[in-house]
Amino acid sequence: MIHRNTVFQLAAGLRARKFSSVELVRAYLQRIEASQPALNAFICVTAEQALAAAAAADRDLAAGRGGALAGVPIAHKDLFCTEGVRTTCGSRMLENFVSPYDATVVAKLKAAGAVTLGKLNMDEFAMGSSNETSYFGPVKNPWNTERVPGGSSGGSAAAVAARLVPAATATDTGGSIRQPAALCGITGIKPTYGRVSRYGMIAFASSLDQGGVLATSAQDAALMLREMAGFDPNDSTSVDEPVPDYVATLDAPLAGVKVGLIKEFFDKGLDAENERRVREALAVLERLGASLREVSLPSLPLSVPAYYVVAPAECSSNLARYDGVRFGHRCKDPRDLQDLYRRSRGEGFGAEVKRRIMTGTYVLSAGYYDAYYLKAQRVRQLIAADFKRAFSEVDALVGPTSPTAAFPIGAKTADPITMYLNDIYTIGANLAGLPAMSVPCGFVGGLPVGLQIVGPHFAELRILNIAHRYQLETDWHLKTPERFQ
């Protein structure tokens, strides 16, 4: 049962030569192959390259070399550019796009010795909350394959939950790491905006996108993040701050830590059973010595409308480069330039992407810019100010990650607004650029529920510490779906 190991255990086992990376990679590749029909978590599996990289890692390990993740198999969300490997972004537009370069995150994990098994399914261009917008078909939730895994990092979350990889990269623009982590019963962290380089991470909404990790524990997330984070001269928005050793101080006791409950998150939209699980988790934190208090962030309920102005505005511009001229999908026999644009983009993008491009184009148009885009930016400032005020009183904020557990596939696809409301608790951290996590805190009707922890800028250590102490007390994160034991 080698796949029951954490990244930590695997790295240690490899170093102790208990098993080889090639053995490990073979085992995981088998699991991936076996589960693909049921879960559809992967868009492409790079078995050959993975085995070659594993053999190289084994040589390094035998020679006493290799980074912190030497020989450990992982997989990337398919919006991280991987040199020589298809990088589709879940879109027909990039179905045949082979990246000529590695994203900084990919290069860093490679340098740490991690072995990439393949590219993970996702909502098209990371736009979605259920992984149903992927051109490559929906991903299924390993806990119940009739249900969604959440999105947009649904492939990453399902793969980790089903132990097809011990950890995976993911990105979070409005909750795309935390919400699928919650719905799949795993641990996910979206670091502070600027902590992880966006270079080579195909953009959805540049001011909100942030790379992060999905793993089975806070400890693994800390280890992965340590290897991924850091200043990148290729990304002007990455922050030139040293990366602390997220692993070293995970164990710090919680005594005296001040935790705030976000009042606005315990609203009518929150499923009562979910709320119970979250409150049970808060009781655990209290038992661990944390002091709890309710904190109000009055502007937070405006985050969904603000987000659905800012994110589409940025995406409408970011996705303009997909024009059929230099790469990506090009329509057959274009009559002229306009025809090339219209059909290439019309055929290459799916409905949700088009909806957001149109929304974004509209809100940036002359005469509407002030009413929408500028106003949304002001709301964003208000929300950031709310968080700042709250963090002058508490060390971390907690609440639910998602209003409900995983919903049935197809249940919300007809009504985009209902779908967008899935992100109601997660978007605030993106708008304010704050680090945030989701950790498993129980089940409702056999489906996992997530606890969200939000910290001040660059306080990844603090939220990882809270999550880790919680996971030392509880075993929700150790539960695995029966079908994928």
Binding site: S99, A103, S236, T237, R326, F327, L337, L364
Partner: protein, 519 residues
């Protein structure tokens, strides 16, 4: 006219004194206005504003490390960033910022301590990202001004609203591709500053004077090579007319992408005449973008305002606001060279030159440096040096489309010639002959004077002998002179000069003739 010498030494830089300016102006306007008899039309005032695009002379592009060198095979200098590949991000080139600040300080503008890059969104194949990164609401340079000299010698202050940093687009190629369009992205991402003037210009001549002034300045500052043929310096002209005395602006047309001073003048003159005629015949100027066709000498509508793009500007989230620190600005300020106006003033006072001469000689840094190098060798002859640099030298450079820095006539070599004029080894007239030989053969003045035996005769005895021979050969003229026909003095000067192959020292000759002729 080619390259940088275009500003000063080209066809419309005139003999000193400015007497030909009138002629030059009628010459260029004549084609359009004289034919239709519209030239003297009064009652209208023209309002012009220019948007000048100057390519910054950085080695790499504004947001990528790719080279900006001109002339590489298509797409050889386009990096993944320039190609707009998925996932890539822009990183600002600090040198471009330094150059923009240099320009801002040189025009006495406000340097924004914080400016913002914005995306200008539109679709075009040579615009790889589907947007151009530019500056919109908060440019790096705002509220500066330049002074220009008008045709009547007076000066005028032209306001500069703003100058902002932006990236250039690529090029679409339509020829030789069998009906297809090719895209060359070598130019994509090249740094530009767009310099936007106030609508302060009132004629095509003023517009050209302003554009030349900016051209001179950016080259002084070494922030732009000014090469107009390669598109490093080009402009859009906003032109409107209104009844004299009106303070309301007329509807303007924008003439795009004009890349020579001559075309700017012609395009604007054509456009003024077109608008006046249109209004006077009961029509209305529509706001539109027009293109100048240099072959036909006319502007043509490119697109109307209704067809104009909505660029959906918004701050580029990939780039943080650009903060420019105080000490950075001060360091740039300290590195500024002597600017054209300061240099011209110094030339006037230090060398006793006229304002016009000082202006011509300081129109480019290379020319000014050349002049000063010459003067260092003949420090007592600054005017002689000015005359030669602006006269003989300018003429031959012009004829062969060369720049002063081309090396064909190093300053030291010209100075060598002037030294021989100053020490009376040769006369000014002989010097022209020597100069021609120097230009043709590349030899120094002394070698030519020696080999051709052009050394001036200053030996009194030799000149006297020549005079006596001439007197002996021309007894008739001598008698007439002595009978009172003093005009014949010149005849004897000429004859002696001829006899000495022009080498007799003119002053000595005069003296001796005055003594000898009367008998």
């Amino acid at each position: 006219m080619t390259k940088s010498s275009g500003t000063i030494l080209d066809g419309d830089s005139r003999p000193r004194g400015g007497e030909a300016q009138e002629g030059s102006s009628t010459k260029s306007s004549g084609t359009i206005l004289d034919g239709t008899g519209r030239e003297p039309r009064s009652g209208w005032e023209t309002v012009i504003g220019l948007e000048i695009h100057a390519q910054l002379a950085t080695r790499s592009k504004i947001f990528s490390g790719a080279s900006t060198a001109y002339g590489a095979p298509p797409n050889a200098q386009a990096s993944l960033v320039d190609l707009g590949f998925p996932g890539v991000l822009p990183v600002l080139n600090g040198d471009a910022v330094r150059m923009a600040v240099r320009f801002g300080l040189a025009i006495g503008a406000r340097i924004a301590r914080q400016s913002v890059f914005a995306r200008k969104n539109y679709f075009y194949p040579d615009l790889p990202k589907g947007y151009q990164i530019s500056q919109y609401e908060l440019p790096i340079v705002a509220q500066g001004a330049l002074e220009i000299v008008l045709d009547d010698g007076s000066t005028k202050r032209v306001g500069i609203t703003r100058a902002h940093l932006e990236e250039d687009a690529g090029k679409s190629l339509h020829e030789g591709l069998g009906g297809l369009t090719g895209v060359d992205l070598n130019r994509a991402g090249t740094p530009l500053i767009e310099i936007v003037s106030e609508p302060d210009l009132r004629s095509a001549r003023e517009a050209v004077a302003y554009m030349k002034k900016v051209h001179t300045l950016v080259r002084y500052l070494e922030i732009c090579d000014g090469n107009m043929q390669e598109g490093s310096f080009r402009c859009d002209a906003n032109v409107s007319v209104r009844p004299k005395g009106s303070d309301k602006l007329g509807t303007r047309a924008e003439i795009k992408n004009i890349n020579s001073f001559r075309f700017v003048e012609k395009a604007i003159q054509y456009e003024i005449a077109r608008q006046i005629e249109l209004i006077e015949s009961g029509g209305k100027v529509v706001q539109e973008t027009r293109l100048y066709d240099p072959d036909k000498g006319e502007t043509r509508s490119m697109r109307a305002k209704e067809e104009a793009n909505d660029y959906r500007y918004f701050p580029d989230p990939d780039l943080l606001p650009l903060a420019v620190a105080e000490d950075f600005i001060e360091a740039v300020r300290e590195s500024l060279p002597e600017l054209p106006d300061e240099k011209a003033a110094r030339f006037s006072s230090q060398y006793g030159l006229s304002a016009y001469d000082a202006g011509v000689l300081t129109a480019s840094r290379e020319l000014a440096d050349y002049y000063e190098e010459v003067v260092r060798t003949v420090p007592r002859e600054p005017k002689l040096a000015a005359n030669w640099v602006m006269g003989e030298l300018a003429a031959v450079l012009n004829k062969e489309s060369l720049e002063v820095g081309s090396g064909r006539m190093p300053a030291a070599r010209l100075a060598g010639l002037l030294t021989r004029i100053a020490d009376e080894t040769i006369s000014g007239k002989i010097a022209k002959e020597v100069f021609e030989a120097m230009w043709a053969g590349g030899e120094g003045a002394d070698a030519i004077i020696a080999s051709k035996g052009l050394k001036q005769i200053t030996d009194t005895g030799a000149i006297e002998r020549a005079i006596e021979e001439v007197m002996a050969r021309n007894p008739g003229q001598l008698a007439e002179f002595r009978a009172g026909k003093e005009k014949l003095f010149g005849f004897f000067v000429g004859q002696v000069m001829k006899a000495t192959q022009g080498k007799a020292n003119p002053a000595q000759l005069n003296e001796l003739l005055k003594k000898k002729l009367p008998g």
